[in-house]
């Protein structure tokens, strides 16, 4: 995964979870870090604004098992950036 995307995603996660930035790594589990569905709405907003991407509703919510760790979020953002560029 590219360094800059990863850094920016982890910065945004650290801001919302109020964890020290150096404690947030790709392995950080979202739920255990206190990310609930409402916090996720704000995180997604920040990610969309920062990367100029559009994250679908399906990626959100309690039923969603696809976003478990910070690395999953980085991967999703990278995929969406790629999609944006090829579109």
């Amino acid at each position: 995964m590219s360094e800059s995307v990863s850094d920016a995603v982890l910065n945004i996660l650290a801001k919302h979870t109020e964890l020290d930035r150096d404690k947030v790594t790709p392995d950080t589990p979202l739920q255990l870090s206190g990310v609930d569905s409402l916090m996720m709405v704000e995180i997604i907003f920040d990610l969309e604004e920062h990367f100029d991407i559009s994250i679908p509703d399906e990626m959100l919510g309690m039923q969603n098992q696809k976003l478990e760790t910070a690395a999953d979020v980085v991967l999703l953002v990278e995929e969406l950036i790629q999609k944006q560029q090829t579109a």
């Binding site: 569905s37 509703d57 919510g61 039923q63």
Partner: protein
């Protein structure tokens, strides 16, 4: 304490411009939800709403009035005129002074606000229409109702998001019980299917992009609706003295606040409001046959409301018919409790529980009888209507069949 009865009803919604339209589509489960036509939804994830259809303000109001009459206030006026005509009331002399207007709205003149601010922020407009302020204030609906019908008693608006009309009806009940007024014209109105507002709702990630399926496994959010509902409340003595036809009695009012979160609902707060309403009505939980649920169709509300109902009703919960008519008329926010109060009174009158439309498979987290897709004839003596707003502001009303 005075008993309070309902003697008139009026509404405008995605189901039509009258209460009769509302009633027939409600019981058939014909949903008013469809593609948004009020603005261009290119670039929107949310493309559906429950719009008032075939609506031409120029045919309904004099052009001169429209410079002071936002879409939301137009709806308030249309619903209130119908309700008052239905009640057979005319206001003059002492009755005008003894009548209250309490009409709720979540936001008020959103169309006016948005279009005008758009002009000054982005179109280089140097001035706005002189009546922009009176047109956008959230009390405009109450003012227009009082002016149009000649009602000179207490008049004001209530606002508590999705419970706004519930608080309006509640305040009216308290005024009638206390003897401040004999008659109340009350309900709520909302018209916020606008570019900016739907964009804002989209950001909340609670909106469905196809339809509203309350309590169903496939539910994926709420659908915004617009419209207004008005009921005429009278003390029983006043209604009897003039020989008014009576739709039913409003017997219980429960209010509570979650004191918890701006968005996440709390089962304890909802349960407290339902218990308070039963206490106020002096009814045991077993008396209730039908609940018109808040039932927004969001992942969060429906299981929370289900748990709250179980907490209050215990084993009787399994005997209740519980439906969310938001699947039919959409979530009309500040008008929701009014339209749903009307739906509940219709259920009492027709002895039929309106359905939860668009229901597919049951969700294990939502394990009550939601009257899926087809209205159900059944004996209903007492019924409850729930409203649980953003920010944890809850109102619950109990309606009962009228008996001398």
């Amino acid at each position: 304490m005075s008993r309070i009865v309902i003697t008139g009803m009026g509404c405008i919604s995605s189901l039509g411009h009258t209460c009769k339209d509302f009633s027939s589509k409600l019981m058939k489960g014909v949903s008013g939800i469809g593609p948004i036509t009020l603005f261009d939804t290119t670039g929107f994830r949310v493309k559906v709403a429950a719009e008032v259809k075939d609506y031409d303000e120029l045919r309904l109001f004099p052009e001169k009035q429209l410079s002071k009459l936002d879409r939301y206030a137009q709806f308030a006026l249309i619903a209130s005129r119908e309700a008052v005509a239905d009640a057979g009331l005319e206001f003059s002399g002492p009755l005008a002074e003894r009548t209250a207007v309490v009409h709720g709205t979540g936001i008020g003149g959103q169309t006016t606000q948005e279009l005008n601010y758009f002009k000054v922020y982005t179109q280089g407009m140097k001035r706005l229409h002189p009546f922009t302020v009176p047109k956008l204030i959230p009390s405009a609906g109450a003012s227009w109702i009082s002016m149009d019908l000649g009602i000179t008693g207490p008049a004001f608006a209530t606002t508590s998001a999705c419970s706004s009309a519930g608080h309006a009806i509640g305040m009216s009940m308290l005024m009638l019980r206390s003897g401040i007024a004999d008659v109340a014209v009350t309900g709520g109105s909302e018209a916020l299917i606008t570019y900016g507002t739907i964009k804002a709702w989209e950001g909340l990630r609670v909106m469905s992009n196809d339809t509203c399926r309350p309590f169903s496994l496939q539910r994926n959010g709420m659908v915004i609706g617009e419209g207004a509902g008005t009921i005429v409340l009278e003390t029983l003595d006043h209604a009897r003295a003039r020989g008014a036809a009576i739709y039913g009695e409003v017997t219980g009012l429960g209010m509570s606040s979650d004191a918890h979160d701006m968005l996440q609902p709390l089962d304890k707060g909802a349960a407290a409001a339902m218990r308070a309403a039963l206490n106020d009505a002096g009814l045991a939980p077993e008396s209730i046959a039908y609940i018109n649920a808040h039932g927004t169709g969001t992942p969060q509300n429906d299981p929370t409301e289900t748990r709250a109902i179980r907490q209050v009703f215990g084993s009787h919960a399994d005997k209740l018919a519980v439906s969310s008519t938001k699947s039919i008329h959409g979530h009309t926010l500040g008008a929701a409790s009014a339209l749903e109060a009307i739906a509940t009174v219709l259920a009492l009158n027709e002895q039929k529980a309106p359905p939860t439309a668009n229901f597919q498979d049951p969700d294990p987290q939502c394990d009550l009888d939601y009257v899926p897709n087809t209205a159900r004839p059944m004996p209903i003596t007492h019924a409850m209507s729930n409203s649980f707003a953003f920010g944890g502001l809850n109102t619950v009303l109990v309606f009962s069949r009228y008996n001398d």
